[in-house]
């Protein structure tokens, strides 16, 4: 299993903790990642709205580079990158005019894009290529007793339901359960995290953050698990504003890969957990001493 790894700007910046946990976890599972050489901006979802053609051309350059690299399967962990790359691929096939624009732009820099690059999210790779069973076998510190609200955000299943249900995705739920965690029912799993509204229209954005945190708390979640750097940032960084507006709602938000790292027994310090504003602490319950179990069994047999 070898993939081109497209980090995008987030995983090298604000979402560094995602990369810090993703890379060791993938390595631990034997997934080989080759960072795409000379990658550029994914095209960005916000820019899509300003100039669709330019956004698609930016994305297409990355796809073309992946095709050329010999590892045509491109892994995009950031939900926004994942969506833009995926969307560009769809537009390339669906709209001849867009295809012509992309072809022309790539030709100018000596690149070609055939349109076959599979765009994959790490969740997709973990569930469908690595497999739940293989993941279970690597778990050395099961997350027993940890209650998680799995939060997918809006971009990885909409509008393209490539690997999961659009309205009720379950891939992360299944993954977290395999790690031993308890997944709480969280009907807001694909709701908006506030997106860029937290910066542009704070009253609307903060309200969304509050709803997500509050519902997670009401349902007894110890933390929210996310797949997207922007979701993680919004849910993590605005606790003060939420407190000012609605009162205290403290729920830490972690990347699902951080939870995987913990369950695999990787050193917590190397999983970027220290970068969050709201600290996440997890101590597994002490394992039942084997002698006690043996004695109990012996007593039972008398």
């Amino acid at each position: 299993m070898k993939y081109s790894y497209f980090p995008g700007c987030s995983l090298k910046g604000l979402g560094r903790a995602y990369e810090e946990s993703l890379l060791p976890v993938m390595k631990h599972l034997g997934v080989e990642l080759q960072e795409l050489d000379d990658w550029n901006c994914c095209g960005a979802t916000a820019y899509m709205a300003v100039d669709e053609a330019k956004a698609c051309v930016l994305a297409a350059r990355n796809l073309a580079l992946a095709e050329r690299s010999g590892n045509p399967q491109i892994m995009a962990p950031c939900a926004a990158c994942y969506l833009v790359l995926n969307k560009t691929k769809h537009y390339f096939h669906d709209y001849p005019a867009m295809k012509a624009t992309i072809d022309r732009a790539l030709a100018a820099v000596g690149l070609t894009y055939a349109g076959d690059t599979p765009v994959r999210h790490p969740l997709d790779i973990l569930l469908n290529d690595v497999g739940i069973e293989a993941i279970k076998q690597k778990v050395v510190r099961p997350l027993q007793g940890l209650k998680v609200a799995s939060y997918y955000g809006c971009q990885i299943v909409r509008p393209y339901a490539t690997f999961d249900d659009q309205n009720n995705p379950t891939s992360m739920d299944r993954l977290l359960e395999a790690l031993g965690a308890t997944v709480v029912r969280y009907p807001l799993k694909t709701k908006c995290c506030g997106g860029s509204l937290t910066g542009t229209v704070p009253e609307a954005g903060i309200r969304m953050v509050y709803i997500l945190l509050n519902e997670a708390r009401k349902r007894g979640a110890d933390c929210l698990a996310t797949v997207c750097p922007l979701c993680q940032f919004n849910l993590d960084a605005y606790h003060a504003q939420v407190r000012a507006e609605y009162g205290d709602v403290i729920v830490p938000t972690v990347y699902f890969t951080q939870l995987m790292g913990l369950a695999f027994g990787l050193p917590a310090k190397q999983l970027g957990l220290h970068r969050a504003a709201v600290p996440f602490r997890w101590r597994p319950a002490p394992p039942e001493a084997p002698q006690v179990a043996a004695v109990a069994a012996a007593l039972g047999s008398i």
């Binding site: 249900d165 009907p187 807001l188 709803i211 519902e215």
Partner: protein, 666 residues
């Protein structure tokens, strides 16, 4: 081009079909072109060939111009071949000295360039002219019709069809898969728009079926095989064991009262699992036949369906001398002979779990419409008291329309009945609970007698109608009032904003789908399905209950969603169509059978090809012989014969070769 024999005299007619053909095909030009082809003595264009004057024209011309072949270029032969053959026969010619050209469905309706369409019409006509010269006089093949009828499915459609036929003196076999007839209608509480009770109008019909001397009712049974052809079908029916002798059971139900299980414990299918039943049970009080049955999956005398005989059998004691309980019953198969078959296998409600955002299965107080029918029913699991799964009485109820209808992601069609039954349930729920009722709809479709008036009545009753497709049903609260409620999130498209409406109960107005096994049933009876999976009628307007297989008719929701009045009308129509065949006593069939010509070399290649075992080898002549009665006229053997010694009436090699020739000669 093969030059026709001297004595061929063809009359050619091209039909305008009003503007249907004439607007895209230059009919006079086609007539003029065909008029100069060899063998054609007469060529006309006419406004409506299928009209009486059109047909009389053919008859008159045959006499006046001494025609011995006729070609009509008009619509599809599947529609009017029969009409024109009759006209030709009325003119004194053998009806098979006729050929039809399809220049409407295959030409004028599908092309946009008048020149090209006209050229195509000329080509098709030319091919028919060359072909018809080879046509032969053939005798009409008559097949006798067995007078008995099989009705498959005992819902309201099957019941009505069976009764209509039985009352006309025909013998009917009615086969139903469930333990009782009644179908979906038996589960409904009231019927729209009159609000008369479904059981009150259905039960008398059900008992009439049970008691009718002309009806053999086999419930808990299904059809597993059908052989034969129109008039002579052999059908195999599988009868599931009820572990009760139907002849001996009196329907006293003492066995149920005395079952070792003191309390009902198992989900009751008839009440959509909302109620409980015992291992020995009767589906519902009015069940027909009034015969109990034993569920071997849960009865203590069985283990996982296998007889262990370990129960105390208090039921057998209770039955006493009647000795109706028989734990040794096995699956039985019966073979029957019938002439015609009516398929009325009904529908399946849409599986609401396919729309997870509506929360069925995650939120206990989300119900399907059929569950609510039982919940408001006086003989239902709660005796008509609307108690929610969490024990509360609802103060506010949402009814979501079009669940699994008019949606590209699930089913594209409108299920036709949901608007009306939703309004009926709204009325009943309001009556039973006094709750606020919110209907969420896309469009209200109330096209029927008294339907629009019913909608008005609901508006007056204060039921709320909110136009918008519901986005989701959820339980996350934004305000204290929403806590503990189900929240409907919807865009109110008339008000123009997104609303959140907290309710206690949600009713999903599920659409209608083809039965899960409709593809198997279709194959069983040699029918076709439309793309959505409902059985395909022979013609959407003119043959709505016929199928492409003669003698097999369809009625009710297996053909498409419809309400009870339409279903009953259709069932009556299907019964009438069957009676047409029965009372006539025979059907004229296409004489398109294959036959062996004298130069057969006896190689036997054809014999294994025939799926009807119509071909045998005659040891004395050392040649193959075809049993004309068994041959259905597919022509597979004709195409396969290495020495070209098999002919097929109406589809002879020289006919087809000349048609190819005619198509490609300019």
């Amino acid at each position: 081009m093969v030059s026709p024999k001297q004595d061929i005299r063809i009359g050619f007619y091209v039909c305008h079909c009003g503007h249907n053909i004439a607007s895209m095909v230059d009919c006079p030009a086609v007539a003029e072109y065909v008029g100069q082809l060899p063998g054609v003595v007469l060529s006309r264009d006419y406004k409506y060939m299928c009209s009486d004057p059109g047909q009389e024209l053919i008859q008159k011309d045959i006499a006046e111009f001494d025609l011995n072949r006729v070609v009509v270029a008009s619509c599809s032969p599947l529609l009017h071949e029969h009409t024109f053959r009759n006209a030709v026969a009325a003119g004194g010619l053998n009806p098979f000295l006729f050929h039809m050209v399809n220049i409407r469905e295959h030409d004028s309706w599908v092309h946009t360039d008048r020149q090209e369409a006209t050229a195509k019409a000329k080509g098709l006509a030319r091919a028919a002219i060359v072909r018809v010269a080879h046509a032969k006089s053939l005798p009409v093949k008559k097949v006798p019709i067995h007078p008995d009828v099989l009705v498959v499915g005992g819902g309201i459609a099957g019941i009505h069809a069976a009764l209509t036929l039985a009352n006309a003196g025909k013998k009917v076999f009615l086969v139903e898969r469930e333990p009782s007839i009644g179908g979906h209608m038996a589960r409904f509480d009231k019927t729209f728009p009159t609000l008369d009770c479904a059981a009150c109008i259905l039960t008398p019909k059900m008992s009439e079926v049970g008691a009718h001397p002309n009806i053999t009712l086999w419930s808990y049974s299904d059809v597993v095989k059908m052989d034969g052809y129109v008039g002579n079908y052999t059908v195999t029916v599988r009868r599931q064991p009820r572990y009760i002798n139907e002849e001996l059971c009196t329907g006293c139900q003492e066995c149920i009262g005395n079952c070792i299980y003191k309390e009902p414990k198992f989900p009751d299918e008839f009440n959509e699992g909302l109620g409980k039943r015992k291992p020995v049970y009767i589906s519902f009080p009015q069940a027909t036949p009034q015969v109990v049955l034993i569920d071997p999956e849960v009865c203590l005398n069985f283990r996982h369906g296998v007889l262990t005989d370990k129960c105390k059998k208090t039921c057998v004691e209770a039955c006493g001398d009647r000795k109706a309980i028989d734990f040794t019953q096995k699956v039985e198969t019966r073979e029957i002979k019938v002439g015609t078959i009516i398929v009325a296998t009904g529908f399946k409600p849409f599986d609401v779990k396919r729309i997870p955002q509506y929360g069925y299965g995650s939120y206990p107080n989300v119900y399907t419409a059929l569950e609510v029918e039982r919940l408001v029913n006086a003989s239902g699991p709660t005796s008509g008291d609307v108690i929610l799964r969490d024990g509360r009485h609802p103060q506010a109820i949402a009814i979501i329309h079009c669940v699994g209808s008019r949606d590209k992601k699930t089913n594209r069609w409108c299920s036709r009945v949901c608007c009306m039954y939703s309004m009926k349930l709204a009325h009943l729920l309001k009556e039973h609970t006094g709750a606020e009722i919110y209907n969420f709809y896309i469009d209200i479709r109330a096209p029927g007698k008294g339907y629009e008036e019913f909608y008005d009545k609901l508006n007056e009753e204060g039921v709320h109608f909110i136009r918008g497709r519901v986005g989701e049903v959820t339980d996350w609260a934004m305000t204290p009032e929403e806590e503990g409620k189900l929240v409907i999130r919807v865009e109110d498209t008339l008000a123009g904003f997104v609303r959140r409406i907290p309710v206690d109960m949600v009713v999903l107005a599920t659409g209608l789908e083809p039965q899960a096994d409709s593809q198997d049933v279709r194959r069983l009876f040699n029918m076709s399905c439309g793309t959505e999976g409902f059985f395909l009628e022979r013609h959407p307007k003119l043959a709505p209950v016929n199928t492409f297989t003669d003698g097999i008719f369809i009625a009710g929701c297996c053909q498409g969603p419809r309400d009870i009045p339409d279903t009953v009308a259709q069932a009556g129509a299907a019964a009438a169509e069957a009676m047409v065949l029965i009372d006539k006593g025979y059907i004229e069939q296409e004489p398109n059978t294959a036959y062996i010509q004298p130069d057969c070399s006896g190689c036997k290649s054809c014999i294994p090809l025939c799926p009807y075992t119509a071909i045998a080898f005659d040891a004395t002549t050392q040649k193959a012989v075809i049993n004309e009665a068994l041959c259905k006229g597919c022509g597979t053997c004709v195409a396969a014969c290495p020495s070209g010694s098999i002919g097929q009436n109406l589809f002879e090699d020289d006919e087809i070769f000349s048609e190819i020739d005619g198509l490609l000669t300019n």
